[in-house]
């Protein structure tokens, strides 16, 4: 963005829209100190930075804000928010900018992973039966070949297990042997655990996509399965 900024009016519709959804975002409090920008690893990408992005929003440059690809380069790591003296919630601003994109125009990779997750319970689109088969296959190989682990157990959807583990879909799909070390540690520690097969993927691309509906659906299904079907007391995030 070079040259003079043309402002037709100071109507900040998009800012008001975001504030209606995130009342505590403090977007109006920015005094442009730039602390956010100084510590932001995404500063300068696409000629943009958090301070400039917020300033554009506050000037009512809604179209430019909504069209900037920078919303997808920012990782919402929250370093800006943590250091901001006015506690402005820049990550939530970015999340809402992402959410303002027509769903089909959002990055294909993130969109595809979110859709797979909604459909199959994990971002890589693995059917639950295949996941269950892989878990048992890895466990069986360890029992057969790894001395000291003859009694190792790995279960899916075992009702009454104390702990439920989530699992990033990368291992079972592309490198099942990498699941082994964790299974061994759980065995040595004597943990009573199981893998749920509903929304089991540890990843969350619907959150990255800013798809509230998809994110909510995944979370609700997961929580229902844990609470009502399995009755696990603890959910363990394995990454």
């Amino acid at each position: 963005m070079d040259g003079m900024i043309q402002l037709d009016d100071m109507d900040c519709e998009f800012k008001e829209e975001i504030l209606s959804r995130v009342p505590g975002a403090n977007l109006d409090l920015c005094f442009t100190c730039g602390t956010c920008t100084g510590g932001c690893p995404a500063s300068e990408q696409f000629g943009m930075d958090p301070r400039k992005f917020l300033r554009m929003l506050l000037l009512g440059m809604d179209d430019e804000v909504k069209q900037s690809p920078w919303a997808w380069v920012c990782t919402m790591c929250a370093r800006c928010k943590t250091v901001c003296p006015m506690e402005i919630d820049i990550p939530k601003m970015i999340y809402n900018v992402r959410g303002s994109w027509p769903r089909e125009k959002r990055p294909k990779g993130i969109l595809g992973s979110c859709d797979q997750h909604i459909r199959t319970g994990n971002a890589m689109g693995v059917p639950s039966e295949d996941f269950a088969w892989t878990v048992e296959d890895v466990a069986e190989e360890i029992r057969n070949e790894h001395p000291g682990f003859e009694n190792l157990q790995a279960s899916v959807d075992r009702v009454g297990a104390v702990m439920a583990l989530n699992q990033n879909s990368r291992e079972p799909v592309t490198e099942p042997d990498e699941m082994g070390p964790l299974l061994k540690i759980l065995h040595i520690a004597g943990v009573d655990w199981t893998y749920p097969t509903v929304m089991w993927g540890g990843e969350n691309y619907c959150m990255f996509l800013a798809d509230d509906e998809g994110w909510r659906y995944i979370t609700e299904e997961f929580v229902y399965h844990i609470e009502h079907n399995l009755g696990c007391k603890v959910v363990i995030n394995t990454e």
Partner: protein, 187 residues
């Protein structure tokens, strides 16, 4: 769950907290003897989601406690800054599938430089996004470090890591403490 006000009654924990609990209470008997003479250096990527975003350094401190126990305190070199003041690796927020690899890698250059500054042979990245991004920037910028999961090092230190579970280890650790697999004659 909080975001959508979905009620739940289970406890939500990180596996890193459990590793630390199990080491403290003696459930996992593990030490750094294997690395006493090798002195292989490790650093840690603090995932934003379990560092800055939860408002406490508890989990990332547990992570350091576990790592120091299994590789030796003197072999852990922290990046600067770290913990809740860490820099995101650049792979978060869906960036790995966001379609802007050039910007993602430029973003990750800061992280690459921080890692190189530590001189570490291995980076522990307890998040799959961090893991993939830190590997990618290593290859892109010509680094030589490797990225591993903590479970790999835990099993290595306990002597229960098989030869088939060493995808992310380098030649220096390929043959150390290998759990000898049983040969199945009936197959």
């Amino acid at each position: 769950m909080r975001k959508f006000n979905i009620p739940y009654s289970f406890e939500y924990k990180s596996i890193l907290e459990l590793y630390a609990d199990w080491i403290r209470d003696g459930t996992l008997k593990v030490n750094a003897d294997w690395n006493r003479d090798l002195k292989i250096k490790f650093t840690v990527q603090d995932p934003c989601n379990i560092a800055r975003k939860i408002g406490t350094d508890k989990i990332v401190n547990d992570l350091r406690f576990v790592l120091k126990t299994v590789v030796g305190e003197e072999n852990v070199v922290d990046m600067v800054p770290n913990r809740s003041n860490n820099f995101c690796c650049g792979g978060g927020g869906g960036a790995l599938q966001g379609g802007f690899p050039e910007q993602r890698r430029a973003y990750g250059k800061v992280k690459f430089d921080q890692i190189m500054e530590t001189g570490a042979d291995y980076v522990i990245a307890p998040c799959h996004n961090c893991h993939a991004q830190i590997e990618d920037i290593c290859e892109h910028y010509g680094g030589e470090y490797r990225v591993v999961h903590l479970w790999t090092i835990l099993c290595l230190a306990m002597g229960v890591l098989g030869d088939n579970e060493r995808t992310y280890l380098g030649p220096d650790l390929a043959e150390l403490n290998v759990l000898q697999r049983r040969v199945n004659n009936d197959e």
